[in-house]
C-alpha cells in the first residue's frame, strides 16, 4: 500500500482528473444522466478555471491582486475571433498572437505593481480592465461592438474541424496541462520565490529574490492563462459580447480562488464549479434561486472567509479528521 502511494506521482492525479472530466460528453451521448447542454456549462466552467488558475498564481502565491482578469480574457477572445474569422489565420497562429498581445499588456501592468500595492493595485488593474471593455464596445471593426463577435469551433492543423464535444476535450487537455505546469512551477524555485515575496518582501530580497523580475513573471503567467481561457471561450461558446468581460466576471474569479482555496490547484477548479456550474446547473432550476446566484456567491465568500480561510478544498481532509474523532469516541464508549 505504501509503495503504491509512493509510486503515485502528482502528474498522474492531474491526468486522472482530466480523464474523469473527459467522460462527461460520453455520459451525455450514451446515457440520459447528463443533458448535452450541460457540456456547455461544464466546458465554460473549466475555461474559467484556467483563468482562475492564473489569478491564483498572482494572488495566492505572489500576493498581488488583480481585478483585470476579465479584461485580458476578453482581449484574447476578440483577438482570436478576429484573427481566425476576419483574417482567416490558422487557429494555432491566432492562438499564439492572441496570447502574446495580452501578455505584453499584462507585463506592463506588472511594472505598475512595483510602485503601487494592495488596494491601489486592485483599482489600477480594474481600470485597465474597464478601458479594455470600453475598447471592445468602440472598436467595432474588430469586435463588432454590442452585436457581439462570432467565432467558429477550432480547426486544428488546418484539417481537423472540431465540434462541440471535441472542443470540450481540447479544453480539458489545456486545463490539465495548465494545472500540471502550474503545480511544477509553484513547487519549485520559482514558486518559493513567489511565496517569499508574499510572505516577507525584505526576507525575499535578502535571499536574492529580485522583486521586479518575479512580479513580472507572476503577471505574465496570470495573463497567459487568462488569455488561453479567452481563446478557448470564444471558440467554444462561439460568441463574445463586451458585457461579458465586466467587473462581475473579475470578481467571480476572485470568488473562485477564495472559495476553492488560495494556493490550491484542485481548489481553483472546485471554486470554478461552485461559482459557475452549481448556480447554472442546479439553482436555476429552482424558481426562487433563479435571481439569487449572485447573492449566494457573496454569502459563500463571507462564510468561507470566516470559517474556512484555507478554502473548501480542505473540507475532505477535515471531514476525515472529524470522522476519525467520532470513530475513536465510539470505540471509547463501547470499551
Amino acid at each position: 500500500m505504501k509503495n503504491l502511494k509512493q509510486a503515485f506521482k502528482p502528474w498522474m492525479g492531474f491526468v486522472l482528473f482530466g480523464l474523469l472530466l473527459a467522460t462527461i460528453p460520453l455520459l451525455a451521448q450514451y446515457t440520459s444522466l447528463i443533458k448535452s447542454s450541460t457540456i456547455i456549462t461544464i466546458g465554460g466552467t473549466l475555461i474559467f478555471a484556467i483563468a482562475a488558475l492564473g489569478l491564483n498564481i498572482l494572488l495566492g502565491y505572489s500576493g498581488l491582486i488583480s481585478l483585470g482578469t476579465a479584461g485580458f480574457m476578453g482581449l484574447a477572445a476578440y483577438l482570436s475571433a478576429y484573427l481566425t474569422v476576419d483574417l482567416s489565420l490558422p487557429f494555432e497562429l491566432s492562438l499564439l498572437i492572441a496570447v502574446l498581445i495580452p501578455t505584453i499588456l499584462g507585463v506592463l501592468v506588472g511594472l505598475i505593481s512595483l510602485k503601487i500595492e494592495g488596494m491601489y493595485l486592485a483599482i489600477a488593474t480594474l481600470a485597465v480592465s474597464e478601458i479594455l471593455r470600453k475598447t471592445f464596445e468602440e472598436f467595432e471593426f474588430i469586435t463588432n461592438g454590442f452585436s457581439g463577435k462570432t467565432a467558429r469551433f477550432p480547426l486544428l492543423l488546418g484539417t481537423f474541424q472540431l465540434d462541440r464535444a471535441s472542443t470540450y476535450y481540447l479544453i480539458v487537455i489545456v486545463l490539465v496541462i495548465a494545472m500540471l505546469l502550474t503545480y511544477n512551477m509553484m513547487n519549485g524555485q520559482v514558486g518559493r520565490a513567489f511565496n517569499a515575496m508574499r510572505g516577507s518582501e525584505s526576507a525575499a530580497s535578502a535571499m536574492g529574490v529580485y522583486s521586479l523580475k518575479y512580479r513580472l513573471i507572476a503577471f505574465a503567467l496570470a495573463t497567459i492563462l487568462a488569455s488561453l481561457a479567452g481563446v478557448m471561450y470564444v471558440h467554444f461558446i462561439r460568441f463574445a459580447y463586451p458585457s461579458t468581460w465586466n467587473l462581475k466576471l473579475s470578481l467571480d474569479f476572485l470568488a473562485m480562488i477564495v472559495i476553492g482555496g488560495l494556493r490550491s490547484i484542485y481548489g481553483t477548479v472546485l471554486g470554478a464549479f461552485i461559482v459557475f456550474a452549481i448556480p447554472d446547473l442546479f439553482l436555476k432550476q429552482i424558481p426562487f434561486f433563479n435571481q439569487l446566484s449572485y447573492v449566494l456567491n457573496g454569502v459563500l465568500i463571507i462564510v468561507v472567509i470566516m470559517f474556512y480561510p484555507n478554502g473548501l478544498i480542505n473540507i475532505g481532509y477535515d471531514l476525515k479528521k472529524i470522522w476519525l474523532k467520532i470513530r475513536k469516541g465510539v470505540q471509547d464508549v463501547t470499551k
Binding site: 518559493r192 526576507a203 535571499m207 529574490v209
Partner: protein, 266 residues
C-alpha cells in the same frame, strides 16, 4: 583597499533620517573567520549599521569594502538589496522573517534561490536537469537541518512552530548560500537560557564548519562576551571602542554609555 585577512571594511559610514544622525562616521573592520559583535544601548544605531551593510538603507556617506566569494574587493554601496547575497553576505532578521504557509524545508530552500541555474520553463516541464538540481539542494537543506537538530520537523509548516525552532530555521536558510559573512540580528532575542547557550555553540560551529565570519548585534551581554572574538561598541551612532571582551568591559566610555556618568558637581 583590504589587507590580507580583512573581509569587510566599513569606512566613515554615515546615515541620517531627517535631522537625526543614526550612524555618524563609523569605521571598523571585520576579519576572515572572526566572530564580531556590535553592541550598544537601545537606539545606538546597531540595526541601522546592519541595514546599511545589506543595502536595505543606502548610506549618505562612506564606503563598505567587502572581499566577495570570488575574492574581488567590491564596494557594497553600489549594489541593490537582492544582489548582496550573491557577494556572500546573508542575514537574519530581528523578528524572524519566514513564510508561514510553507514547510520548514521549503523555507530553508529559499536560501538557495540564487544558486538555481535552471529556468522557469525547465522547472515547469520537470526536465531531468531541473529535477536533479532540486534534489541536490533538497539534500543540502536536509543535511543542514540534521546539523541543527530539526531534521524530523522538515515537512511541518513553519506556522505554529516554537520560536526557538523558527530561529534555527532562519539560521539554516542563511547557510544554504555558502556565505562568507553571516549577519545575525539579535539571535538570542526571545530564547531561554538553555537555548542561548546552545546558540553560542551553534555560532562557533557555524564559523568552523562553514568557514565564514559572523557579525552579530545582540543585547544579551553574556552571549556577546562569551562568543565574540572582537567587539565594537557604539552609542548614538558614534564609535566608542573596539577590542576583545575584556577590553570592552574595562573601557570607561562603554561603562558610561551603559551605566551612565557619575555627576561631578555633587
Amino acid at each position: 583597499m583590504l589587507q590580507n585577512n580583512e573581509l569587510l571594511k566599513i569606512e566613515d559610514l554615515s546615515i541620517a533620517f531627517g535631522g537625526l544622525k543614526a550612524v555618524d562616521q563609523l569605521s571598523f573592520t571585520i576579519h576572515e573567520k572572526e566572530i564580531f559583535g556590535l553592541i550598544g544601548p537601545n537606539g545606538a544605531g546597531k540595526t541601522t549599521v546592519f541595514n546599511c551593510i545589506t543595502q536595505f538603507y543606502k548610506p549618505n556617506h562612506g564606503n563598505l569594502y567587502f572581499k566577495n566569494i570570488k575574492d574581488e574587493v567590491i564596494n557594497l554601496v553600489d549594489l541593490k538589496v537582492h544582489q548582496v547575497i550573491r557577494q556572500g553576505i546573508v542575514r537574519t532578521f530581528q523578528n524572524v522573517e519566514l513564510i508561514r504557509e510553507l514547510s520548514i524545508i521549503d523555507n530553508v530552500l529559499i536560501g538557495a534561490h540564487i544558486d538555481y541555474k535552471t529556468g522557469l520553463i525547465s522547472q515547469a516541464l520537470r526536465l531531468p536537469k531541473a529535477v536533479k538540481e532540486e534534489a541536490i539542494y533538497r539534500e543540502k537543506a536536509e543535511g543542514i537541518l540534521k546539523k541543527l537538530g530539526i531534521y524530523e520537523r522538515r515537512d511541518m509548516l513553519v506556522f505554529g512552530q516554537p520560536y526557538g525552532i523558527l530561529k534555527k530555521v532562519e539560521l539554516a536558510r542563511t547557510f544554504m548560500s555558502d556565505p562568507k559573512l553571516i549577519i545575525l540580528d539579535e539571535p538570542a532575542a526571545g530564547l531561554n537560557d538553555v537555548e542561548t547557550l546552545q546558540l553560542a555553540q551553534t555560532i562557533r560551529q557555524i564559523r568552523d564548519e562553514f568557514n565564514c565570519s559572523v557579525l552579530l548585534v545582540e543585547h544579551d551581554m553574556r552571549l556577546v562576551m562569551d562568543v565574540c572574538d572582537t567587539i565594537c561598541a557604539i552609542n548614538f551612532g558614534k564609535f566608542l571602542a573596539i577590542g576583545n571582551a575584556k577590553d570592552i568591559q574595562k573601557n570607561p566610555l562603554v561603562q558610561e554609555a551603559y551605566l551612565g556618568k557619575e555627576d561631578d558637581d555633587e
